[in-house]
């Protein structure tokens, strides 16, 4: 006897259950718990949670560190999005033009930062950023430029973090672009060339539009993941300093929760961040869905 529709549906839910359960326990439950916690004052050790109503939120919106961190996060997310979309795209186009036998070498070299642990990458960059004898400022001196005190200056610290993050993460997008470029049928270029299109026109009218789905994916993942990628370099390179100027929302939550042990306050910050990024992601999807053509 063939199983009824209902049984087949039940089996489907059974297959789904492990993943759904894990997501519920490790993603949605903490979300609910942390939102609940944001209305309490608790130091992680004390047996009592004191309810404080909206006070954590009120204090947060009056805290200069919060607004600085929010501005920095948005700035860094924008910079990272531009850099980790443009740099890998250009590199992918260039690499596919070098002779075939050298392509693999370039791919390995350019992908290698992605597989290095972020902590180790930061330790290496720590010495490259050294204002007195680091590689960066030594090179700048050769060019006649006085390099900044990368990690101790309020204008450059956030850029130091962005540079490390781009260097560490662009390789993944680079591989995606290589795959995207290879998937564009060669006949399209040939047909266009026959019609007399120049190199620039080929890039503008064939490469860019046909890479759009890849670009959308790269763009979305970078924008959503980049605030998370900022955490480790911030922790190792600047601890948010000098004077909060390289702080970001993820690190701020860590500071409030695990440096000051104000867990309720940190949860309030986490909840606000969740809402901010939920909004941004919704806007992003709304616009992206209308502008991308998947049909080939």
């Amino acid at each position: 006897m063939r199983p009824s529709r209902r049984w087949r549906a039940a089996a489907g839910y059974c297959y789904l259950a492990p993943a759904a359960l894990l997501t519920l326990v490790f993603v949605y439950w903490p979300l609910v718990a942390s939102t609940a916690l944001s209305f309490y004052d608790w130091n992680l050790v004390s047996p009592t949670w004191s309810p404080v109503g909206w006070q954590n939120y009120v204090e947060l919106v009056h805290n200069r560190a919060f607004w600085l961190a929010l501005a920095n996060t948005l700035r860094a997310a924008a910079a990272l999005t531009v850099l980790t979309v443009l740099v890998p795209l250009l590199l992918a186009v260039i690499v596919l033009r070098v002779p075939r036998r050298w392509q693999d070498v370039y791919r390995v070299v350019l992908f290698s930062p992605t597989v290095i642990s972020m902590a180790i990458a930061c330790a290496v960059w720590l010495w490259m950023f050294h204002p007195l004898h680091g590689v960066l400022n030594t090179l700048l001196r050769f060019a006649g430029i006085a390099g900044p005190s990368w990690l101790s200056s309020s204008s450059s610290a956030i850029w130091a973090i962005i540079i490390v993050t781009v260097w560490k993460t662009f390789g993944f997008n680079f591989v995606l672009y290589i795959a995207g470029l290879l998937a564009i049928p060669g006949e399209m270029y040939e047909a266009a060339r026959v019609d007399g299109a120049s190199g620039g026109q080929l890039f503008r009218h064939i490469t860019i539009p046909l890479l759009a789905p890849t670009t959308l994916f790269v763009f979305l993942t970078t924008f959503i993941l980049s605030p998370q990628n900022l955490f480790v370099p911030t922790q190792i390179l600047t601890q948010g300093g000098p004077n909060e100027t390289s702080n970001n929302l993820g690190y701020l939550v860590y500071q409030l929760g695990f440096e000051y042990f104000r867990v309720g306050y940190a949860s309030a910050a986490a909840t606000l961040i969740f809402l901010v990024f939920l909004g941004l992601t919704a806007v992003q999807f709304y616009f992206a869905e209308r502008r991308i053509h998947y049909g080939r």
Partner: protein, 426 residues
């Protein structure tokens, strides 16, 4: 097949037997394992911790010590400790920096140690009262002072020579330092001085004490970073960085590295680093003297280091923890510890004892700088109340802003002190 009754009886007999064996002293004699948390990385006393554990375990076969290094110095250890306490799995013993003792004593469940004064009077005999006071809060003993360190000024004699200065007469006051520093920078093109800038305000407190101020008012209600003495001292630091440009504004790792590689002539940091400095200075023989004084004012420095606090909740673990503390502070333990770090022994007489630390002090001339400073040691003030850790951070941020030089020290310190004082318990 045996009847079921027999099987049930056999099972019962076995259960009784297991229970009986479990209750016999044979099981109780299993070694007790306790965790010891410390901040001693491989370049900062780590090997000495391992030696202490080995020596202790050889003497106490019934106790096993699991030593765990916690990164991020005292603040990092506190963070891990708070999480461990929340999970109800704290270490039996942990090092708590003097700057965090008030916070830990006020916020964390721990064992009060006054009872041991009665049961172990001999242990307390060799430790002077002013040192033991570092573990006393509100009249009760919360922790036993373990490492005691003072800031000193390390310097590179080669850069003094290169600038035409006498390396046997390094600066003793800040005025002298600024004069000689200007010469060093002018003649060698190197920076003259770096004052340590880790994630704490130890050297800031040293400057405030040194200029005759107080990090915290005596009634504990006001943070003293806005006193004229504090403002003057921090303004001096800013001027050296941004006006005369003889001092470096670098992160902690950068500053230490720049000094060790010969890019900076003088470096103010802890004597606890003397072993590391001696072994890692590249191309020069590092020397140390007490930190500079403010004119005619007497030397005064914040005392660094930590107390050992017991967090064990089980009585057997607590007893083992106390045995461990007694050992690491015994003449034998303190000798291993001081040799491996540069921390001063809480039992001062060991330094002159040929059986213990005299040979070490004889062959480590930099230790003299710490011994000369020791009589002038002031507390590293720990800010009380549940917001103490935030207060420290506010003061660190103020320092960062001052050293960038966009505003003078006074308004920055006034704002920071006001903000910090508001977080002190009323």
């Amino acid at each position: 097949m045996r009847p079921p009754m027999t099987r049930r009886l056999t099972a019962l007999a076995l259960a009784v037997l297991v229970a009986a064996v479990g209750a016999t002293p044979a099981f109780a004699a299993e070694p007790i394992t306790i965790e010891y948390w410390h901040i001693n990385s491989p370049t900062f006393g780590g090997p000495a911790v391992k030696e202490l554990v080995q020596t202790f375990e050889a003497k106490h076969p019934g106790i096993k010590i699991v030593e765990k290094f916690q990164p991020g110095v005292y603040t990092g250890l506190m963070q891990q400790l708070q999480v461990a306490l929340a999970a109800r799995r704290p270490p039996a013993v942990a090092q708590i920096g003097y700057n965090l003792t008030a916070y830990a004593a006020g916020q964390f469940p721990h064992v009060m140690l006054d009872k041991y004064r009665k049961s172990d009077p001999d242990f307390f005999k060799g430790i002077p009262d002013n040192i033991m006071a570092l573990g006393v809060l509100g009249g009760s003993l919360h922790g036993i002072p373990f490492g005691v360190s003072t800031p000193v000024m390390y310097y590179n004699p080669d850069l003094f020579k290169a600038a035409g200065l006498n390396p046997d007469q390094p600066p003793q006051t800040w005025d002298e330092l600024m004069r000689q520093g200007a010469i060093i920078t002018q003649k060698t093109g190197k920076l003259a001085v770096y004052l340590q800038q880790p994630n704490d305000e130890w050297i800031d407190q040293t400057l405030i004490w040194g200029n005759g101020g107080r990090p915290l008012s005596e009634d504990g209600k006001h943070v003293g970073w806005d006193s004229p003495q504090a403002i003057e001292a921090m303004q001096m630091w800013q001027d050296m960085v941004t006006k005369t440009k003889i001092a470096a504004n670098l992160t902690w790792e950068e500053g230490l590295q720049a000094f060790l590689s010969g890019h900076i002539a003088m470096c103010l940091t802890t004597i606890g680093r003397q072993d590391h400095m001696r072994k890692n200075a590249s191309g020069f023989q590092v020397r140390a003297v007490p930190v500079p004084r403010f004119g005619q004012k007497p030397l005064a420095t914040a005392t660094g280091g930590n107390v050992l606090m017991i967090f064990a909740t089980d009585p057997a673990q607590e007893r083992a923890a106390w045995e461990w503390i007694k050992f690491v502070l015994s003449p034998e333990g303190a000798t291993i510890w001081t040799r491996g770090t540069g921390y001063l022994p809480p039992r001062a007489e060991l330094a002159a004892d040929p059986k213990y630390l005299k040979p070490f002090f004889d062959e480590a001339p930099m230790m003299k700088a710490a011994l000369q400073t020791f009589p002038y040691a002031k507390p590293w003030v720990s800010f009380p109340g549940s917001r103490g850790l935030e207060i420290t951070k506010i003061l660190i941020k103020a320092r960062e802003e001052i050293l960038e030089g966009k505003r003078p020290a006074e308004p920055i310190l006034k704002e920071a002190s006001q903000q910090a004082s508001a977080l002190l318990p009323k």
